[in-house]
């Protein structure tokens, strides 16, 4: 299931019906979810986030929104670094105002390049594990494990100050996972990574989420969020504007923003005439390159119709591709229009 909050602007706050983010028919119990209930945060008179309700299951959750939308506020609330003005947050059943229990479960990486001066990669991870309460032997083992997972073993003895941007991102990720948390909260973790490192980090996210972790990632890089996320939360102006699996979110917007599907086939004009007879198709346009672009208010019904036309006419179809069903399009429709 997914939810799209319509007319969710700061001026006219809407409180949409929320549904859980998971699509699994087997409900995930609350003590295995990150639950945010009616949470608002105001900095004096400035709105951070308002009336947020989320229930996040395991897997990778992408938190997407423009600058100042409230992503970092939401993340800081989740890790208990700031307290909500209203509402409550529980991470796997633990209230966020219980740091001793919470930070056993949560690994957090900020968007800032903040490293204590003079430390090398190993010391950076090791010292924070000691602050966590691990004795020398455990901290040493866990440090090397975490460093190996982000492929920085060879650079572990070098000062962090001399690391490249990508290496700094990876060492930050290593400190977030080093104490073996169950929930990873990562603020812009893909910034500055080269394509190779990005692929490695995304693979690591996948590996961790498949092992049962919650990985909550904020990012501006929409196609990567689309690529890695099991579910997304779109946030703008402190309000959640959509949540859920990206396909589900897109389905909910079909009425207002018909889905675009590009079909490459041998007889596009025939296909155009056939599909245009259906009431859910609002536009069928043959493009210069011969492709047929169809806009429909019901993607499911359109695909049924397409199958039927193919069977009836023997149409040779080369490609069927939705062109605006990704998080980028959803983001543009929900947030781009407002901004």
């Amino acid at each position: 299931m997914s939810a799209v909050a319509t007319a969710a602007t700061p001026a006219t706050p809407a409180i949409p019906e929320r549904t859980p983010l998971t699509s699994s028919p087997v409900p995930v119990p609350a003590d295995r979810r990150v639950v945010i209930e009616n949470v608002s945060k105001f900095y004096g008179e400035v709105l951070g986030i308002n009336n947020v309700n989320l229930s996040i299951p395991p897997g990778i959750t992408g938190l997407v929104g423009p600058n100042g939308s409230g992503k970092t506020t939401l993340m800081n609330l989740l890790v208990g670094l700031i307290r909500p003005t209203r509402g409550s947050l529980r991470v796997l059943g633990i209230p966020t105002d219980n740091p001793e229990a919470l930070f056993r479960l949560v690994g957090y990486s900020t968007q800032y390049d903040a490293f204590p001066p003079g430390l090398n990669g190993y010391q950076f991870i090791y010292s924070f594990l000691r602050i966590h309460g691990f004795a020398h032997a455990e901290a040493d083992t866990m440090t090397w494990e975490a460093i190996a997972r982000v492929n920085l073993t060879e650079a572990a003895g070098r000062k962090v100050a001399g690391y490249s941007k990508g290496m700094r991102q990876r060492i930050k990720l290593a400190q977030a996972i080093s104490h073996r948390p169950s929930v990873l909260i990562l603020d812009e973790p893909l910034n500055g990574l080269d394509p190779m490192a990005r692929a490695e980090v995304i693979a690591l996210f996948r590996e961790l989420s498949e092992a049962g972790l919650h990985v909550i990632v904020s990012s501006h890089i929409l196609h990567e969020v689309d690529l890695i996320s099991d579910q997304v939360v779109l946030i703008n102006g402190g309000y959640i504007v959509a949540e859920g699996e990206i396909g589900g979110v897109r389905d909910e917007m079909e009425e207002e923003h018909p889905v675009q599907v590009l079909i490459r086939c041998d007889r596009p004009s025939l296909l155009a005439s056939k599909v245009f007879e259906s009431d859910h198709v609002v536009e069928a346009r043959i493009q210069d390159d011969g492709g047929l672009l169809v806009r429909t208010r019901s993607a499911d019904r359109f695909y049924m119709l397409l199958n039927q036309v193919i069977l009836e006419t023997g149409l040779a179809v080369e490609t069927v591709m939705p062109t605006d069903a990704d998080v980028n399009a959803v983001y543009q429709y929900l947030i781009g229009e407002k901004s």
Binding site: S23, S24, P25, Y43, G44, V46, P58, G59, N76, V79, L81, I82, P99, E100, L102, F103, R104, L105, V106, Y108, T110, Y112, D113, A114, F115, P116, P117, G118, L119, Q123, S127, F128, R130, I131, H132, G133, F134, A135, E138, M142, Q175, H179, R180, P181, S182, L208, S209, E210, A211, G212, L213, D230
Partner: protein, 290 residues
């Protein structure tokens, strides 16, 4: 549909006691501090006065070692008095060096963390703001202890061992060394952390500390001159602690030289509380936008 195997296991072993975790902070701070040769030389210089004191106590009890001077032993003892003035002067000299040490080390403790938004790194652990302040403060407290009350107490014990009857008459001196130095190093540490947290920029924090210390001495004197009063002294930490030391060691001072001990204690406690309040306002994972 995603199926999550949940084969990931959290660490379930023993942990170190929470009270000991703040001590991780000084460990790495010392590595940085002692990398500076200038600081190493200064730190060595800080032990010259206690060493001279040690020598004086030894000679006081072994006057035969000075027989080559051809001065009667009773006369020599007058030049080497071991009493309240001896320990007061030692405390005064080491107290001045303590400020220089704080001036060198203090600004680098909190300012870089605040400047780089690094506090979230510490506070997203089972580690509180109080533990963070304690950890950073312990960097200074341990270094300052090493040059103030620890050598002071060692000299006191050395003298007591060499002259057991002296100990009974001068027990209050031991207390004065502990309380006088303890109050001073606690205040200096709090002031350094508060300034470092307030200014956020290391060089400016250093200048601010210097201004607070030296300019306040001049300001105190000017205020007293202009208003013909003594309470201007309360604006200077040096005069305030001087009054406290004098009263603890039983050194007579005139009202024109230093503020009354009661007012001095009140000023020192007030200043410390102000520093604590500033720290509680500034040591936050994220700044509050207003």
């Amino acid at each position: 549909m995603a199926v999550y195997g949940r084969n990931y296991r959290r660490y379930a072993g023993e942990l170190t006691p929470p009270w000991s975790r703040f001590l991780i902070l000084p460990r790495y701070a010392y590595e940085t501090v002692f990398q500076s040769k200038l600081f190493l030389i200064f730190f060595a210089v800080c032990f010259l006065v206690p060493f001279a004191g040690l020598l004086m106590i030894y000679l006081h009890h072994n006057l035969s070692a000075l027989s080559f001077l051809n001065i009667p032993p009773e006369e020599l003892k007058k030049f080497l008095p071991i009493g309240k003035s001896f320990f007061f002067r030692g405390t005064w000299l080491q107290g001045g060096l303590a400020f220089i040490l704080v001036f060198l080390v203090g600004p680098a403790l909190v300012a870089p963390d605040l400047r780089n938004n690094g506090l979230a790194l510490y506070l997203s652990r089972p580690f509180s703001r109080t533990e963070y302040v304690l950890g950073k403060m312990s960097v200074l407290l341990i270094l300052l202890s090493a040059i103030t009350w620890v050598p002071g107490m060692l000299l006191f014990l050395f003298q007591s061992i060499l002259e057991p009857s002296w100990l009974g008459k001068n027990l209050d001196l031991g207390l004065a060394i502990l309380v006088g130095n303890g109050a001073w190093i606690l205040f200096l540490s709090l002031m350094a952390l508060a300034v470092s947290a307030l200014v956020k920029w290391k060089p400016v924090a250093r200048i601010a500390l210097g201004v607070l210390f030296f300019v306040s001495i001049g300001f105190a004197n000017a205020l007293n001159e202009i208003l013909s009063t003594w309470w201007g002294y309360l604006f200077s930490a040096w005069y305030v602690i001087g009054s406290i030391w004098a009263s603890l060691f039983g050194i007579p001072v005139s009202a024109d030289e230093l503020p009354p001990p009661g007012a001095a204690w009140a000023a020192l406690i007030g200043g410390s509380l102000l520093c604590l309040w500033l720290l509680s306002r500034r040591i936050r994972a994220y700044e509050v936008v207003r």
